[in-house]
């Protein structure tokens, strides 16, 4: 897992607690930020807890957020608070990465509009899972294995380094399968910032800066990353 900046989780209600449970497995430093107006119980929380008034810009600035590195999770139980927070954070730090939790499609739309980088719609994901359990049991099992279960299978992204082993090769020329890698999507820098699923309709030339999204076993992924870093002619 790539480690960048700190993680700030705003809110320690039911959403915040579950977020912390999963995020605490990562190596990033986590700070829990609780609004002084809320009565979130943080007594069992092992992370650093900061209590501020989220409506005061000075309080938010005092957290020392680095907008270039840190990731913010807006996970307060009230959508109105999350919305207010997203707007405030985007005003204070233009390029900040904010992930907001929403409990409806309409709120997800509002949070996105307010500037959240990504919104996790709790009930969209859950209802989709309900449907899949009934109609696509194999898909449910596969998604569990790749995303939800703690095993050695993972979805991950790789930004191609300069002079990588695959530099200037066409996607069609490279055998990902022999490395235990399933390539899902690519951002081909030469063609802009658009994420494209790889479906063999369009070939792509691999260059430094391209992003590959793959599914692989942890070991194979690590080996592949090392392989990519090897010199092209080395």
């Amino acid at each position: 897992m790539k480690v960048k900046g700190n993680i700030f989780i705003f809110g320690y209600g039911s959403f915040g607690k579950h977020l912390y449970k999963h995020l605490s497995k990562l190596e990033n430093k986590i700070k829990i930020v609780v609004d002084t107006q809320m009565d979130d119980d943080t007594s069992s929380c092992k992370a650093e807890v900061v209590r501020i008034n989220i409506k005061q810009n000075e309080d938010i600035l005092s957290l020392g957020i680095d907008p270039k590195k840190d990731i913010i999770y807006c996970a307060m139980n009230k959508t109105a608070n999350n919305l207010f927070l997203v707007l405030t954070l985007k005003t204070l730090y233009h390029d900040i990465n904010i992930i907001a939790i929403s409990n409806s499609y309409e709120n997800a739309r509002k949070l996105k509009y307010a500037g959240a980088t990504n919104v996790i719609d709790l009930y969209e994901a859950t209802s989709r899972r309900f449907v899949n359990i009934l109609t696509k049991p194999a898909v449910t099992k596969a998604v569990d294995e790749i995303i939800y279960k703690e095993n050695d299978l993972k979805m991950a992204e790789i930004v191609l380094p300069k002079d990588s082993s695959v530099d200037q090769k066409l996607l069609s020329e490279f055998d990902f399968k022999s490395h235990g890698i399933v390539l899902i999507a690519i951002i081909d820098k030469e063609q802009g910032d658009e994420l494209r699923f790889v479906d063999n309709r369009v070939d792509h030339k691999l260059d430094a800066g391209d992003t590959l999204v793959v599914v692989a076993k942890e070991d194979d992924f690590e080996k592949f990353v090392k392989y990519l870093k090897g010199q092209k002619n080395g």
Binding site: V139, M155, A156, I184
Partner: protein, 120 residues
């Protein structure tokens, strides 16, 4: 809930927590994850059961030619003797498909329709 003999419990906060933890340092992978889970784009994750007599039965992965059909194969769900099913990720090219196997794959809706028609 499990004591009440419920087979599966889906907790929204739990799912959100797991999804959110993927985001850290991997924003593009997260984007892909959301697209697949929420199925809001033309890209879908789908499954296909190999029925007796299907054109996929007895064929190897390489013989199917997933790439030519514009399908990204993630793996095969195969029943074990104890009745449970095992997810075999990214099976080798010489892996032979049997009746009862479930293929799990990603593709655009048109490619998926075409694939299912071809494999029937």
């Amino acid at each position: 809930m499990y004591f009440a003999k419920v087979d599966q419990v889906v907790m929204p906060e739990e799912i959100a927590g797991m999804m959110a933890s993927v985001y850290v340092g991997e924003p593009v992978a997260f984007e892909v994850l959301l697209s697949i889970i929420e199925q809001k784009e033309k890209i879908q994750i789908e499954e296909f059961e190999v029925l007796p007599g299907s054109s996929a039965e007895g064929k190897s992965i390489s013989e199917i030619g997933f790439e030519d059909l514009r399908i990204i194969l993630l793996g095969v769900l195969r029943s074990k003797e104890d009745g449970d099913a095992e997810f075999i990720f990214n099976p080798d090219d010489d892996f032979i498909l049997q009746s009862g196997d479930n293929l799990v794959f990603i593709g655009y809706t048109t490619a998926i329709s075409n694939f299912k028609r071809t494999m029937q």
